[in-house]
Assembly symmetry: C2
Homo-oligomer: 345 residues x 2
């Protein structure tokens, strides 16, 4: 059942039927009702491809996901984010196109989706401190919104980000207030913008209290359980061992915990842990866990906002250029049971 068939059944022209179905004002209310009723009855669905070709709009959003041999971008945070974004696309009648490509092929992929016209815009994932993808997308004139930010990138662009600086400031302040002075930071890879900002927040909070960041207590790397374990073991073996750990990810925090348990240290008494991360779904907050400053639902929410921002940009941008928009989410601070005063107190 296509538009022509439906029009014939109704003894109307395809044009009128199209107009009725697409909410054009110049159709009489009577025919509109008739058409809509018939469309429902015959279970008519406009062919997407034809619509796209005719309108020149893909009605689709692309997410280009690099799969790196280096580190895994396909992570749970990502899953929640796309769940939120996908929700919005589905509701708005947009398709969600995913391109999983080797790290090195990203450029080619962006150019391709551009020239093939398969999407109206895209979301940029995992921005680096300085990220060439941003200028590429500008050059391609492909509407985009960054999930996160790219500090060193000049010029305006739209983004949705967590307030990583503030989160790590607060977490650090919290530990300082508990009397901790030797605080370790187990961070993500610091060429990624989020990790860079988290470190900034950490250092700023220390500086504000007259404390000097100690490089021996700052680790940066892929945020795995093993990372937490290894760094903790190393730091606790050296003189000037930390009394508190601030980690960028719950997984690292779990590694820290494993190390502490192994060393016979008691969480919240001998050593404190604070972590910034989502609760990683399935890991329902057991109460025994560290502090979270972002929750799973907030990541999903970020996905929704990112998607909405992009769709708005695309829809308004049909006529005039749209100024970039920003959205900075302040995640809640949830206090768990694995922090306590510094042992020296």
């Amino acid at each position: 059942m296509n538009l022509k068939d439906l029009a014939e059944k109704l003894k109307l022209s395809p044009t009128t039927v199209s107009r009725a179905l697409n909410g054009y004002p110049e159709v009489s209310e009577a025919t509109r009702v008739k058409v809509e009723e018939a469309a429902r009855r015959f279970n008519y669905r406009p062919n997407t491809q034809a619509k796209r070709l005719a309108t020149g709009r893909a009605m689709a959003i692309g997410h280009v996901i690099p799969i790196s041999t280096q580190h895994e971008i396909v992570n749970p945070v990502f899953a929640d984010f796309i769940a939120g974004a996908g929700e919005v696309y589905a509701r708005s009648g947009y398709d969600f196109l995913m391109s999983i490509v080797p790290d090195a092929d990203q450029d080619r992929t962006y150019r391709e989706i551009r020239s093939k016209g398969s999407v109206d815009g895209c979301i940029l994932h995992g921005p680096l401190l300085s990220d060439p993808r941003i200028s590429l997308l500008r050059e391609l004139r492909l509407p985009f919104v960054v999930h996160g930010r790219s500090t060193l990138e000049a010029g305006p662009y739209s983004w949705v980000d967590m307030n990583n600086i503030r989160a790590f400031q607060r977490a650090t302040e919290f530990l300082i207030d508990l009397g901790h002075r030797r605080i370790a930071l187990i961070n993500g890879i610091e060429t990624m913008d989020f990790a860079h900002r988290r470190r900034l927040g950490f250092e700023q909070a220390l500086a504000a209290r007259g404390l000097v960041p100690n490089p021996a207590l700052m680790a940066s790397g892929e945020m795995t359980e093993a990372q937490g374990y290894d760094e903790t073991m190393a730091m606790l073996a050296r003189p000037g061992a930390p009394t508190a750990f601030l980690t960028s990810s719950l997984l690292s925090a779990m590694g820290v915990r494993r190390a502490l348990v192994e060393l016979g240290l008691v969480l919240g008494r001998d050593v404190s842990i604070v972590t910034h991360d989502d609760d990683l779904s399935y890991l329902k907050n057991g109460g025994e866990y560290p502090i979270f400053t972002a929750t799973r639902s907030s990541v999903r929410d970020a996905g929704r906002r990112c998607a909405r921002m992009l769709l708005r940009q695309i829809e308004l941008g049909q006529k005039a250029p749209v100024p970039p928009a920003f959205d900075l989410l302040d995640a809640p601070l949830i206090v768990g049971a694995s922090t306590g005063p510094a042992p020296s107190i």
Copy 2:
């Protein structure tokens, strides 16, 4: 730059150019080379929408992902699976369409992607023991491959599955061989096919050694860290406490471990853990971990196989109906350090 433009530059008809680019045999080698060279030089990319409309093929595969309030299907296993599948799609020139929809809207979504013609086929995720989506897809004549199986579904269909029965048999046998007699099973939700099969494997192994499955030692539910913790605490508090735990997920296993540590029990001496799961990416196998019977890369591999199977089905199915295909993957058994002989020995 479109086909017509390119044809004009080459002083050829669009037809010939199209044929040259699509590998039709009736083009002279000379012109083919010329055309291909020009296409490259002008960076010509055929418009996807137009191609689709003309051929009637969407050149896209759909994945419909339900987001449930009940349990989270958007999990890391899923992320790896789609990474593998997406890789294949990208290489084969197919788009990867994702629909994130509320649980209840799945039916409507399948019908819609069917009637809108937006995909050539789809992958079915998270099959239940008996799953109505299978008959729906059959009825819609939409090619599909199931990631997993649906035991109670009659009639043939294509699938790619892990050998869950065998995996749990082997894990159980392994524990029995170590002398364990009271073995607990912490399983996933057993209306899901994979969890059902895992239980079967567990019970079959027990039965083969003349042991009777004890319902008090079998838990089924969402596989979270909290689940592992709670069930372990409950089981260890009752008489006839297990000396070994077999869990369906690494997260549950971590919960089990937390409970054991809290109770002052030593892993691999007082109590053993064996788990079936991917290493969940970021959780690099730390050596101290339980046994894995599926690894992260095997899930990605399953994604690849599933995708390849579907593409084959679609491409062959253009002419004649294709018989269903199957693929049963036997995951490797990796032994970690958290198992040991039963304490009574």
